[in-house]
C-alpha cells in the first residue's frame, strides 16, 4: 500500500476510518515505511502534546516530552500487541515521558515505598493520624493546582509502582490484564497497587489536608 504524497505535509491528519488507518499505519511502520510513521505523528501528535502540556505546563518541555514519547513508541512498536487501542498505548507512553521529564525539571526524588506506608503501633493503631482531607473544590484553578500535585506525586514513585498505577488506576485495566501486560503475577499487581496508592495518599496528604507548605 502506498501513502499519498500529501502525507508528507506537516498538518494534523484525521483519518475517516480510524480502525483501517491504524492497521495500515502499524503495518507500514513495521516494514520501515517513513510515510506511515509520518501519518502516525500527524494523527496522534496533537493529543500527546496536549497531555504533555497538561503535565509539564511549559510548551518547550512538552514538545521535548512528545518527541521522546514518539521515539519510545517507535522503538517499542514491535511489541504493541493491539490489545489496547493504539491511542491508549501512546497515551501511556506520553504520560510516562512527561512525568519523567517533570521529575528532572522539578528535581523530584524517587520516594522509598517503605517510608511512605502508614505506620502502626503495637496495638495496631495508626501512629501518624493527621487532619481529614478537605472537600476538593470544583474551582478550575484549584483543580489544575491539585492535578499538578498529583503529577508530582506519581513522578516520585519507583518505576515498578508507577507502571501499576498507570495500568490499573489510570487506564483501568483489571488485575489479570495488568499482570499479563507487565509479566508479573496477579498477587504482585495487587500488592504493588495498594502500596502505590498508599504512597500517593501519603505524598498528597499535606496538600489535601490543607496544611500545605509546598
Amino acid at each position: 500500500m502506498a501513502f499519498s504524497v500529501s502525507s508528507m505535509e506537516m498538518v494534523p491528519y484525521i483519518p475517516d476510518d480510524p480502525v483501517a488507518a491504524e492497521a495500515e499505519i502499524l503495518a507500514g511502520i513495521r516494514r520501515g515505511d517513513d510515510a506511515a510513521f509520518n501519518l502516525l505523528v500527524r494523527w496522534h501528535c496533537g493529543r500527546m502534546y496536549a497531555v504533555a502540556k497538561r503535565i509539564l505546563r511549559d510548551d518547550a518541555e512538552a514538545q521535548d516530552a512528545t518527541q521522546e514519547a514518539f521515539t519510545m513508541a517507535y522503538k517499542a512498536i514491535a511489541r504493541f500487541d493491539g490489545r489496547s487501542k493504539l491511542s491508549t498505548w501512546l497515551h501511556r507512553i506520553t504520560v510516562n515521558a512527561a512525568l519523567m521529564r517533570l521529575r528532572k525539571t522539578k528535581r523530584l526524588r524517587e520516594v522509598s515505598i517503605e517510608d511512605t506506608q502508614p505506620k502502626f503501633d503495637d496495638t495496631g493503631h495508626r501512629r501518624d493520624v493527621g487532619p481529614a482531607w478537605k472537600q476538593t473544590a470544583q474551582d478550575e484553578a484549584l483543580a489544575t493546582e491539585r492535578a499538578g500535585k498529583v503529577h508530582e506525586a506519581i513522578a516520585q514513585l519507583p518505576d515498578s509502582y508507577r507502571e501499576v498505577i498507570m495500568l490499573r488506576d489510570i487506564q483501568q485495566l483489571d488485575t489479570d490484564q495488568t499482570a499479563e501486560a507487565l509479566g508479573i503475577k496477579s498477587g504482585a499487581v495487587k500488592t504493588r497497587l495498594h502500596r502505590a496508592r498508599l504512597a500517593l495518599r501519603e505524598l498528597l496528604d499535606p496538600y489535601m489536608a490543607g496544611e500545605a507548605t509546598w
Partner: protein, 87 residues
C-alpha cells in the same frame, strides 16, 4: 474486632467489594467506631479518583488544532537522524 492496621491492609479489597460477608461485617464494625479509619478510607478513595483525573486520556479530537507544525517536523526529522548510523 479488627485493628486499624488490618483495616488499612485490606482497604483495596474492601473498596473493590472483594471481601467475604464476614470480613465485610468486621470492617464496617471497625469503621463505625473509628473516625480516623473513616477519614483514611475517604482519602484513599480520593487518591484513586484524583490520580485518574490528573492523567486521563483526552477526547479524540483534543489538540488537533493546537499542534505546532515545527513539532511535527522535528519528530519526523529526529526519526530520520536516529536511523542514519545504521542506514
Amino acid at each position: 474486632m479488627i485493628t486499624c492496621k488490618e483495616c488499612i491492609e485490606f482497604l483495596d479489597d474492601y473498596i473493590a467489594g472483594d471481601v467475604s460477608p464476614a470480613a465485610l461485617e468486621n470492617f464496617e464494625k471497625h469503621l463505625a467506631l473509628c473516625p480516623p479509619c473513616r477519614d483514611f478510607i475517604e482519602s484513599y478513595r480520593k487518591t484513586i479518583e484524583e490520580t485518574r483525573c490528573a492523567c486521563s486520556e483526552p477526547d479524540e479530537q483534543v489538540g488537533c488544532d493546537d499542534v505546532p507544525p515545527t513539532l511535527i517536523s522535528a519528530i519526523i526529522e529526529s526519526r530520520k537522524l536516529d536511523r542514519e548510523p545504521d542506514a
